[in-house]
């Protein structure tokens, strides 16, 4: 069995990370197609707010609900995007029992902006969506396509960030500003009072009031949110989950990938596999050929272009080789050769998956 298939067989969740423009969504789709072809009931989810997953799968649009994608073979494939608003709304309706309290949160102005126009809700909702899909046991395999590097880091750090926000000491300041009665507490929090005054000067009282109101409103969800984030962190750090890096054989992209690997390690997420997407198709071209004058001219041009492309790619591949040596042989590596046909629908992905078999 190839390292790639081992990866698929031994992990329930596969998270793909990588820098912008390396083909992360295409590789997520490829992995999902391959998992489905192996007979797994597979879901591919994307955190990226752009519409790349639908495009890579060759469908018009995807929604927050799983859509079935028709594939060859015995397995089944589903795809979905993260719809922050509906996930958040559902979370509130599930965990807040009183309808009045539900409405209070749903009508909060910051909540409404946060789930529609402002960023910041994608990461939490993505983690919740991933957990929900995993817990549902509807899927044997879940493939998660994350946003480009810097935002992937936001995603990976989200659980910890939310845990920090919902620490008791922090929340007390947001939700019960008038309940601090002990003199010890007052001394401890004097510094925060000064900071709050500074904050009011910086932001204005209207913003601060809106924000305090928001925190007080969502306070009822504190235990559920913390529980959810703890479960998310446990899942992502468990052996059921594999992190896969997508990169290209390009010196700059390799350097950027190294920084991302460092972040993964720091956060306790183990990298299991690397996809090197769109590697140059090295061929053994003849050095000289004797042809008719017109064909000879074309041959010289084609040969020249090949030599240039090959030399550039060899240098990039050397840099990749150094990275892979540093990372060690425990890591699976799949090189995906740049194709001579479009990979922009499910059939293209199926063909691409087969090329991996012939190479492996």
């Amino acid at each position: 069995m190839s390292r790639l298939d081992e990866l698929i067989e031994s992990h329930e969740v596969i998270v793909l990370v990588g820098n912008g423009g390396v083909g992360k969504t295409t590789m997520s789709s490829l992995l999902a197609v391959r998992a489905a072809q192996k007979g797994h009931r597979t879901l591919v989810l994307t955190v990226d707010p752009a519409k790349r997953l639908a495009q890579a799968l060759g469908v018009d649009a995807l929604s927050g609900e799983s859509s079935a994608i028709s594939i060859e073979g015995k397995g089944t494939l589903f795809a979905a995007v993260i719809d922050a608003k509906s996930i958040f709304d559902r979370f509130i309706r599930k965990h807040v029992l009183s309808v009045e309290a539900q409405e209070k949160i749903l009508n909060n102005r910051i909540y409404q902006k946060l789930t529609t126009q402002l960023s910041g809700s994608q990461e939490f909702t993505a983690l919740d969506r991933l957990l929900t899909a995993h817990e549902s046991q509807q899927y044997d395999r879940i493939i998660l396509d994350t946003p480009p590097a810097s935002h992937a880091i936001d995603f990976l750090e989200e659980a910890e960030k939310i845990e920090n926000i919902f620490q008791d000491a922090v929340l007390k300041w947001f939700v019960s500003p008038f309940q601090r009665q002990s003199w010890v507490g007052q001394i401890i929090h004097r510094g925060t009072n000064v900071a709050f005054k500074g904050l009011e000067k910086l932001t204005g009282s209207e913003f601060l009031e809106e924000l305090l109101n928001f925190f007080q409103t969502v306070y009822v969800l504190k235990d559920q949110i913390l529980k959810r984030m703890s479960q998310a962190r446990q899942l992502l750090q468990s052996p059921k989950v594999a992190f896969v890096l997508v990169t290209q054989a390009d010196k700059n992209k390799i350097q950027a990938a190294e920084a991302l690997i460092g972040t993964l390690n720091k956060r306790g997420y183990e990298l299991k596999h690397i996809f090197v997407n769109r590697t140059f198709p090295h061929m053994k071209l003849a050095t000289t050929m004797v042809l008719a004058p017109d064909a000879q001219k074309t041959w010289n041009q084609v040969r020249g272009l090949y030599q240039t492309m090959e030399a550039v790619n060899r240098a990039h591949e050397e840099a990749l080789g150094h990275l892979l040596n540093r990372l060690g042989s425990h890591l699976g590596v799949t090189k995906v050769i740049d194709q001579d046909q479009d990979i922009d629908d499910i059939r293209g992905l199926e063909v691409l998956s087969k090329t991996l078999d012939s190479k492996l």
Partner: protein
């Protein structure tokens, strides 16, 4: 491309700040600059590069605004405040956009540059960045945050001082992404963004002659046919992408794939020359 445009302005004698949005720096390794951060680093004459993160922008703004270092320390060394900054919606985006537009708005520490070039986030995250001041400006009517949000968006939407450039490579996915971003910018903000296409491969022989070569050599040299097929596919993919991009911007600017140029400054020189003289 961002660095090349910045380089071109600097070469003309303007003082230029190239802003990269963090936390990870691309230019740090690309130009061998050492560790990048919120302090500008000189790349060449007249051109500085800086790596901005929300926290660094907010720190600078707070320190400048409050002026009292003690309050600043309380503000940032207090875990309640740190959590607040992390949790408060739009604070990160507003801090970054606030810094980018600070010179025009005359807010915060002075920046003495003639041009600021921002190498921004990819599609969806860039839209989210722009939506923040618009959303906050609508919601908060009084106080510095509401007022500054409206001023920031006013600067960002003023074509006299701000323009937007979308960079694509000549391939289906980037082209589609560019199309969607251009449409969204126009629909949501009325921004008309110009389009550049980078890494255009110059394939001199015609498609027909390459096909013929493949056919002539297919028995003796099958790998030549294989490469000819690949080359013609790359050409068709590129041609189709260029056609679609031309639909998005009639003045589409093309930039060659500089495969033989490995020296970063030389690369900037070649691309900027093309940008300013095409």
């Amino acid at each position: 491309m961002g660095a090349s445009i910045a380089y071109g302005y600097a070469k003309k004698g303007a003082r230029v700040l190239l802003i990269e949005l963090g936390p990870i720096s691309f230019y740090e390794n690309f130009f061998h600059l050492g560790s990048m951060g919120p302090q500008p680093v000189g790349l060449v004459k007249n051109l500085d590069i800086v790596l901005l993160t929300a926290e660094s922008c907010l720190k600078e703004y707070v320190l400048h605004y409050l002026r009292v270092k003690k309050i600043y320390e309380i503000f940032f060394e207090n875990r309640v405040m740190r959590a607040f900054i992390q949790a408060a919606p739009a604070v990160a985006e507003l801090s970054i956009l606030g810094k980018i537009t600070s010179q025009i708005r005359h807010v915060g520490p002075p920046m003495e540059y003639d041009h600021v070039v921002v190498d921004a986030y990819a599609t969806g995250h860039f839209l989210a960045l722009l939506r923040s001041p618009a959303a906050l400006g609508e919601m908060i009517h009084t106080g510095p945050f509401g007022v500054e949000s409206r001023k920031i968006i006013e600067v960002l939407l003023n074509p006299q001082c701000c323009d937007y450039t979308l960079v694509a490579t000549p391939e289906p996915l980037p082209v589609q992404e560019t199309k969607e971003l251009q449409e969204a910018l126009m629909a949501e903000f009325g921004i008309k963004a110009q389009v550049l296409v980078n890494k255009v491969l110059n394939i001199e022989p015609t498609e027909e002659s390459v096909s013929q070569l493949g056919q002539i050599t297919k028995v003796e040299e099958p790998s030549v046919l294989q490469f000819c097929t690949y080359l013609n596919y790359v050409r068709r993919r590129q041609d189709s992408a260029l056609l679609q991009l031309k639909d998005l911007d009639k003045n589409l600017k093309y930039f060659p794939w500089l495969m033989n140029t490995t020296e970063p400054i030389k690369m900037l020189e070649l691309l900027s020359e093309r940008y300013f003289h095409e």
